[in-house]
């Protein structure tokens, strides 16, 4: 019964057209996520590069991750709405996603640069490279896969959180879930849920492939969605030595 309703929801032609149609909602969702993750990357990655290059980032990276985790995205969204004087639509949800997206990218960038072995940097310096060149031509390429892993974590979280925007009159796939709950149309709720889940799994897989391509030859390993490289944030905390800091 429920599944036939769900099937019916997906196959109704009217659900594929217009502002409230699946393609347009998906497009809205996509735009919001790209703008939020992109803006956060523009801030977080260069900051991470500088902190990592100066070898001062370990503490900052751990702190940013822990603070980021302690900020519930629903609370950030609410504060964004309030601070924009009950502003609705795009900006509050964008602001919430922007804040949500920064920590993983910052931490992974710092950790990636930190992870470049000192002897590699020594030899680069021995070859006469200047610090700037070392950063851009040695450290950055070696850290690239880990930076992309950070972007992936951010992107998946942002895609997953963007539906909250529907609560404050933004569109996107969240509309199906929030509106469906409001009018008890559970086929619509489940349809929206499936679309969001598929979108986030697609991002996970897509960035996973990119990450694998950017991994320098010797360290490449096979990629499977579940058996992914342990997140840097987990590794960070796993070490008992960082727990106390």
């Amino acid at each position: 019964m429920f599944f036939s309703n769900l099937f019916h929801w997906f196959t109704t032609a009217a659900h594929w057209h217009g502002t409230g149609g699946i393609p347009n909602r998906l497009w809205e969702h996509f735009q919001l996520c790209v703008i939020a993750v992109g803006a956060a990357a523009i801030v977080a990655v260069p900051l991470g590069l500088v902190f990592g290059h100066l070898r001062r980032g370990a503490f900052a990276a751990a702190t940013v991750v822990n603070v980021g985790r302690a900020l519930p995205s629903f609370a950030i969204l609410a504060i964004a709405v309030i601070s924009l004087n009950f502003g609705i639509g795009f900006w509050p949800i964008w602001l919430a996603l922007f804040v949500l997206a920064m920590p993983p990218m910052f931490t992974n960038t710092v950790t990636g640069i930190h992870g470049v072995r000192p002897d590699v940097i020594e030899s680069a310096r021995g070859m006469g490279m200047r610090p700037r060149k070392i950063l851009l031509e040695v450290e950055l390429p070696l850290a690239a896969s880990l930076i992309i892993a950070g972007v992936r974590t951010s992107a998946v979280q942002v895609i997953a959180t963007a539906p909250l925007g529907a609560l404050i009159a933004w569109g996107g796939l969240g509309r199906f879930i929030i509106d469906g709950l409001a009018i008890q149309d559970y086929a619509q709720v489940a349809g929206g849920a499936i679309l969001v889940a598929l979108f986030s799994i697609a991002a996970e897989l897509g960035f996973g492939l990119l990450e694998q391509r950017l991994t320098p030859g010797g360290r490449r390993r096979s990629f499977a969605p579940g058996a992914r490289r342990p997140d840097v944030e987990l590794e960070q905390v796993i070490k008992p030595s960082t727990v106390g800091t």
């Binding site: 822990n66 309030i82 539906p163 009159a169 499936i194 579940g226």
Partner: protein, 226 residues
Amino acid sequence: MTLIADTLGQPLIQWSWLKAHGGVIVSLVLQHILLTGIAVGIGFAISMVLAIYSVRHRRAYAPVTWLTGIMYTIPSIALFGFLVPLTGYTILSAEIGLVSYTLLILIRNIVAGIDSVPAEVREAAIAMGYRPTRLLLQIELPIALPTIVAGLRIATVTTIGLVTITSLITYGGLGLLILQGLQSFFPTKVVVGSVLSILLAALTDAAFVVGTRALTPWARRKAATA
């Protein structure tokens, strides 16, 4: 369920409302803690079983992380939305969602912790006649403790954040306050709900740091000598 902006002139916090509703706020904080506690408790029990099984039977680890990894990737709002038609607006729906997000974090850390036990320590224990169960309880788990607690820390703080989202399916502790405030354009509720939920997460995080320090004095001593 959407909002229309018109709140000019309302103070950020109406202290009279706060005074009159102290009891409600306290009970929502308690509900928040309870929802989190149940989720992490059940999640930990399931994770313990799956993790120990995965350590003993290595081939099971990949499918276990794969499955819990997928559960972790499913957006929480989507999962709650999907559960409502199946299990309704119940605490069960909320807890199924919350528990499923703790599994990957906890299992990974428990396995990593047990893996960190040096082989010679394990061999020495076996040579001294330790059987698997006693080995696990008296050697492996104590050594893995800091890593397991680190996992519990991540899982608990993450769950505190996720509980706010369960407000969409009527539970949700402090998230309920945020949602109601947003829906009725009442800034006080929004501010109280979001500030308290952030505070709860931050304090829990800090409590784990302090607790781990107190429980593992050897880690500090090592850091001091290093």
